[in-house]
Symmetry: C2
Subunit: 152 residues, 2 copies
């Protein structure tokens, strides 16, 4: 290929972002339709369902969301009574968030949707290639979080 041109379609950062976006939107369509969740709300629910009780800060860390995003998603889920806040006994800045019964029900619906979606992807790629791909992501993530930052 010519050295003074760049083929956008095969440039990895572009490709990666584009495809991630396709996948994410496609999946979001599913849970938005059936459960009325936005992506941040889905993630909060996923965190609480998985861990039982978390602070807003912990949710942000686990799911890579900005604290304002978490704050807003939590407020909305609380409004729908899918979670409740419990003040921490010893540190009154902190609130522990837990899913309500209703929230647990929604979580129980969202898990199989997620599994099914992932299974579709895995099948489309082939299980072996899927695993290999996940490992590639692993490497990429490690690199980005560690060394990637400094110029070469």
């Amino acid at each position: 290929m010519l050295d003074d041109k760049l083929e956008l379609e095969s440039f990895l950062p572009y490709r990666l972002y584009h495809i991630a976006d396709l996948v994410s939107r496609e999946f979001a369509k599913i849970y938005k339709d059936r459960l009325g969740l936005t992506r941040p709300e889905w993630r909060v629910l996923a965190g609480l369902g998985q861990h039982g009780a978390m602070t807003a800060k912990a949710i942000g860390e686990q799911s890579a969301m900005h604290k304002t995003k978490v704050s807003r998603a939590v407020a909305e889920l609380e409004r729908r009574r899918w979670l409740t806040r419990t003040p921490d006994e010893t540190d009154r800045r902190v609130e522990h968030l837990t899913l309500s019964k209703a929230g647990q029900t929604v979580y129980a619906e969202m898990v199989p949707l997620a599994r099914a979606f992932e299974r579709r992807l895995s099948r489309a790629m082939g299980a072996a290639r899927f695993a290999e791909f996940e490992y590639g992501l692993e490497r990429l993530e490690t690199f980005m979080l560690e060394g990637g930052l400094s110029d070469e």
Copy 2:
């Protein structure tokens, strides 16, 4: 793993999106710092540099951007005199966009930055794994654009 819980950190759509975001932001930092470009502007420039002259519509198709995003990025690049518009001879709705001299200079600066960044990723993953990973993306993309849509 328990069947009624989902491990967010290893859920592919989440992982994929998160890592794509990391990569994209990291790369954006570079060209924003050095060239003062937003992501949509970078993509428009990439399209024009690669193809010479395009309509706004074609740019949107090549780089997977909504037409309003393209419209705004083009307006900004025009304001900086990095591209010019030429009305189509036969269809007066259409404008052909081309890089100005200044625009070509910026393009010439952005290409090596892109290559260098991609090379860093490739090196971090190992060339073989990188290629395998690209192929995985390929499969994923095909699936999303074709069959992925219908419920299983």
